[in-house]
């Protein structure tokens, strides 16, 4: 029973992280219809910024998290301004190749500055909570609660503020949004900033129980893509549900089937699901 409960906690932890990364990805896709392959690099840069602020500057964990979020948001907005904006009228294949270019650049840059070594970030929350035999490490609880709070805050922002409403309007109907005078540039920048912030938070939350290295974004971004395909590209609830599905599939698959193949589970799941339903699990109609 206890082991089973442990897997639930693991699944929720992984699901929260994947969900946060997938949320940023799906927001950008919903607005600009770009599959941002560079999103994994933003996640990686987020982890390294936290590392830099904590280890080299000596900032507190929470301060480092905020700083990292600001820096990654700036990087994301810059990539939108300098790369995706000039390409807005190009064939879709160009966006994808340009995104790959950004990914390669950010990875090489981080590797040049910090090297390819594996690093660790220490969190102030190393304790273990014991609820009558059910054990939860504090950091994992922080991840789950943090993700929940972030998703709730994002929902509030999108539903209750004018700026958030413009983002939703543009995702729903581009031309309609232009007609009522919504500034597309502002919305695009805002969306990239939010996706960067979510990536940085996810990376900083997950880093203390994982390792930090330049290629750390690869697997995460591919899983995030799997998630948003499962959940329907551009759908916010889809990203959260999809994240949980993949998180649980990995936690239980890794425990009951095989640990060394646990990274394949998500992709295998995608292959199976897309073979049966090419339009994804939760979407209606074809793309």
């Amino acid at each position: 029973m206890n082991l089973f409960f442990q897997q639930i906690i693991n699944g929720m932890t992984l699901g929260s992280i994947y969900g946060l990364v997938a949320l940023g990805l799906t927001l950008v896709y919903g607005i600009l219809h770009i599959p941002n392959f560079a999103h994994g690099a933003l996640y990686m840069v987020g982890a390294f910024m936290t590392y830099f602020l904590m280890v080299d500057i000596g900032a507190h964990y929470w301060v480092a998290m905020a700083g990292s979020a600001i820096i990654v948001a700036i990087v994301a907005v810059l990539s939108e301004r300098l790369v995706f904006h000039p390409l807005r009228n190009s064939p879709p294949i160009h966006d994808k190749i340009a995104a790959i270019g950004i990914l390669l650049f950010l990875e090489a840059l981080v590797q040049m500055i910090w090297g390819a070594d594996f690093r660790r970030i220490s969190s102030p929350y190393t304790g273990i909570l014991n609820f009558d035999g059910l054990i939860i490490p504090e950091q994992r609880l922080l991840i789950i609660v943090g993700a929940f709070v972030l998703v709730a805050a994002l929902q509030l922002f999108l539903r209750k503020t004018m700026t958030g409403a413009t983002i939703i309007a543009m995702a729903q109907n581009r031309d309609g949004a232009f007609l009522v005078g919504i500034d597309a540039n502002r919305v695009a920048m805002m969306t990239f900033a939010i996706s960067g912030i979510l990536a940085a938070f996810a990376a900083t939350l997950y880093a203390p129980i994982n390792l930090v290295y330049p290629a750390m974004g690869h697997v995460v971004i591919m899983k995030a893509f799997v998630i948003i395909i499962l959940g329907g590209m551009g759908s916010i609830p889809g990203a959260i549900v999809g994240g949980m599905i993949i998180g649980f599939a990995e936690a239980f698959g890794g425990f009951y089937i095989s640990t060394s193949y646990k990274d394949i589970i998500a992709f295998g799941l995608l292959v199976v699901i897309l073979s049966i339903r090419p339009q994804g699990l939760f979407t209606k109609g074809a793309h």
């Binding site: 896709y29 219809h33 599959p35 392959f37 300098l82 790369v83 000039p86 390409l87 190009s90 879709p92 294949i93 160009h94 994808k96 190749i97 340009a98 790959i100 270019g101 950004i102 990914l103 390669l104 650049f105 950010l106 990875e107 090489a108 840059l109 590797q111 040049m112 690869h218 697997v219 591919m222 893509f225 799997v226 395909i229 590209m233 060394s260 193949y261 990274d263 394949i264 992709f267 295998g268 995608l270 292959v271 897309l274 073979s275 090419p278 793309h287």
Partner: protein, 347 residues
Amino acid sequence: MMFKLAALLTRPATKYVFILLALLFPLFAANEYQVYVMSLAFVWAIAVYGLNIITGYCGQLNLAHGGFFAIGAYTLGLLTSDYGWSFWPAFVAALLMTAVLGFITGVISLRLKEHYFAIFTLCVGFIIYMLLDKWEELTHGAIGVRDIAAPYGFGVVDFTDSVPFYYLVLAFLIFSIWFISRLSKSLLGRTFIAIRNGDELAQSLGINLMRNKVLAFVLSTTYAGLAGALYAGMVRFIGPEDANILHTFNLITYLLVGGIGTLFGPLVGTLSIVWLTQSLQFLETYKMILFGPLLVLLVIFFPNGLVGSLLLWMRRKAESMGVAKAPKASRVETSNSATGKEAENNA
């Protein structure tokens, strides 16, 4: 002057000059290493030609291409080292293996469009990498495959030398380019271009989308398998890192620099980037710091690449000259505008 030079380059007879130069290259090469690098560049070029079929002509960004390259290399490597096959039967087996796996992947993945296809193939590429890395009973895992047989020369030549191997790769490269030049002029090639220019329009013309896309995909993975098998026979040692997604990104860079959807783009792009990085050896680890922004700048400012931009420039020039002295330049103009239009279609 520039125009005449460029017109000379696009003359049909010029290709024989280049073939002659390629044949004589080992004589000019300063050392055996340069011959080796050139062979390697040719192997990559064959792989890029494969990518050009599905991505350049057919318009589907396939991010599993490096994975199929690795499957070709592993099929040849494992059959010759673990199962005692000799090179040529294993070589044929490698081509068949990549064609069959390409067919299976294609049938599933090509039901998806655009972004979904790109993301799906990204995942397929990653699954290939993970399997090569983790399936230790079959692939030896991270240790890689050693003792791969060199091509058997039937007692006539010894392909373990770099110069005979160079000619072997050159022969395959010339055959690959010849096949694609035939393909791109055929009805099938034009069908691929029609699919790229618009799925729905092509379908309304009576083109069977699925069958043609799968055919393009199988052709492209077979090219990747051919390149991979040659690579394994040349390097004689392979590991899971050969399936790293970065190799696919490299291939895309070569294709984009040369000119996506053009006949000579893959060759020009591969040779120029490979020799550029050779002369910038010291940058090896950090070359992506240059290549990343290069890729971005290329798609923003020169989406046609070197060859595509040249063809487009030729066409514009020919048009403006055609206006000035129509009767005299008419022959040049028509022949060039045909290629120029193709370049524009490709853009």
